[in-house]
Amino acid sequence: MNDDGALAGLKVLDLTTARGHLCGRILADMGANVIKIEPRGGDAGRRFGPFLDDRPHPDRSLFFWFYNLNKRSLTLDLKNPRGREILLALARGADLVIESFAPGAIAEIGAGWKELHAANPALILLSIAPFGQTGPYRDFAADDAILTAMAGMLYVNGSPGRKPVRPLGPQAYHSSAYYAAISAMCALFARDRIGHGQWIDLSMQEATISAVEHVAGGYFAEGRVEPRRGTLHWSRYFRVARCRDGYVMHCSLGDWTSLVQWVAGDGKARDLVNPEWEDVVYRAEHAEHLFDVLDEWVKDYSRDELLERAQMLRLPYASVRRPEALFEDEQLAARGYFVEVEHPELGRKIRYPGAPFLFNGTPWRVRRRPPLIGEHSEEILREELGLDAAEIATLAAEGVI
């Protein structure tokens, strides 16, 4: 099969601000031609840390790098009428425009759905906004923290009675990006059926709600307001325990007989040898006692020892690792998860997290490192719009690009 990617041939204009960056990257990773359109001076995300070697610079932001691998960069002043014209000209040849400005902002500069659709009826416009394009909170300001709060994700993280805890990574942004990419793919399929593009209203609040499994379900099924439960999983089958050199995660699913034999062999089973514990529902109902007994059992094991022995018995235990451990993980190494990306202007190779899925025909691939500000402005204007060097120089002199 051709190796130019599953999404080869798709042209995407990525106007997103930091909260929308990831969607275009996912598409670029799979072969779409993604043009990142940045304001002059660069995207605001370039000013977010962490920075390479802790030296703040718009071309050294690891935040920006993570979200913009495989994209090309064009700087364009969208508020300049000539900049807007260039955007519309590019849109004539594009399949998808992604934006994450405040609702209504692109319409104000004359590049909203109406104008884009008139310029290219086949074009799909994907608008990613904190609360979507309609409704009383439409104009509310929000970052990832506010979104996780208003989607019910934050409330259930942390310990009872204590302050809610934020997860690792901006997960409202990430969940939204995946749903956004899904919606873009759906609109592409739809275009072949209905013959034209459409406007997608992606609410980040709704996408984040959809990334929490149990809050709405618990409420609608039983009127239960899901509390914070610390590490005790709401299903009551999992809990974190302290062991000799860190933490492990108990799991009371899996082969109970094997687990109890092991624990009993260590002389720590106490009442868990009684037959009522063979019932998985009973184990969930009495999870606190169960895990208290098992906590005593695991405390002298090391994480690795426990994990390996448990997995040999097909018990779904896990060690609670730090993210640094991923870089030493044999499984990830065997599957080539991390990939080296060369940054020639820095003389450095950086290991990037790689493919979230392995396609055997049209694989995920690094095509280019994240772009420097405006790195491809000339190339894009020449190739996509056929502008010549003099025209491009004029645009640069006028501050349009």
Binding site: M1, A6, L7, A8, A18, I26, G45, F48, D53, F131, G135, Y137, A141, D143, D144, I146, A149, M150, L154, Y155, N157, S159, R162, K163, P164, R166, P167, L168, G169, I182, A187, Q198, I200, D201, S203, I209, A211, H214, A216, G217, F220, E222, H233, Y247, L315, A318, V320, R322, E324, Q331, A334, R335, R351, P356, F357, L358, F359, N360, G361, T362
Partner: protein
Amino acid sequence: MAPMPLEGIRVLDFTWVVAGPVATRILADQGAEVIKLERKPGPPGSRQIGLQGDLHRNKRSIAVNMSHPQGVEIARRLAQISNLVIDNFSARVMRMWGMDFASLSQVNPGIVCVSMSGLGHTGPRSSYVSYGPTLQALGGYTMLMAEESGEPSGFGYSYADMSGGYTGALASLIALWARKRTGKGQFVDLSQFEAAISVIGPALLDIAANRREQTPPGWTCQEGPAAPHGAYRCRPRDGDDDRWLAISVRTQAEWDRFVAAIGAPGWAADAKFRTLYLRMRNRSELDAHVAAWAAGQSAETAMQLLQSVGVAAGLVANGADICARDPHLKARNFWGTVTLPDGLTTHVTGIPMKLSATPGAIRTVSPEIGSSNDYVLGELLGLGRAERDGLIADGAVWP
């Protein structure tokens, strides 16, 4: 009814538990014909309300015994007339049934197979048994969801199942798109572990490039510096003191508006809070002042007050807030409604994307196991009543 984006795509769905069903639910909402192949009896409890109702709506179900050769034959015939076969078993299961990509692509060259196993089909740990929570633990999420003491304090749910689910739906769509373009199917080996760690984000680059050991993010601004930035406890509501307001103040203009909105208290004029840099440096003191202000406010009113001046603030919403009270979600008709077999209705989580011309729809409640036996075996496979009865009598199909 508006056309559906994925109309005409048929999915043979072997998935179970959470991650796989989330993936196929997303496809079903957009019009794919998802046929769940299941065994009887299923797990106890209703699967039409709550999380289970969310997972299986819009799907069809057939009850086929894969331990029976004729059951496997039915599955193989269905794979021939499907576009996507999806599972979340470990590698050996589909191979054992001859339902793996290598076998199926011989009878259906355009087939896309997506397998969403825990740690992938290859590598030394491919046989590990896992669930969402254990994958989060292996990935670093659990360790870094911690109190200030460093003690792990979450997740209390399976985020990895949800990230696995949406990643699975996306992988399916991308592979189906490639097939449309090239006519060729392919195999997608999706490790739910890798899907989960792929959404950790820039922190992994910080480890790779700067060798920095990560600390629990807490309220340290993973999306650009801000102060005040945190969750602040508010006045109790109906006796419930677990009410919090999240606030993020970034620019100087936002700070000025924030100060004015809360009544320009004396402490806010202190030189130590003059710039964002100083506010970040003196954040614990700043937080104490903001916390004291918030303690006298209702979270909802304070949110409205701050948002009215363009300051990012949001109620730390609980289940009742999002499901029953949030006026915005109501105005957008986010929550779906399905009719249960007894005629009552229940709500399910809505579709988080609105496509203007082909919005997708929540059409049917989660099916009873085997409720589409007649449609699938009769209409799709052309088996007559007598043949279907014979399969039931032989134990290949459950009635």
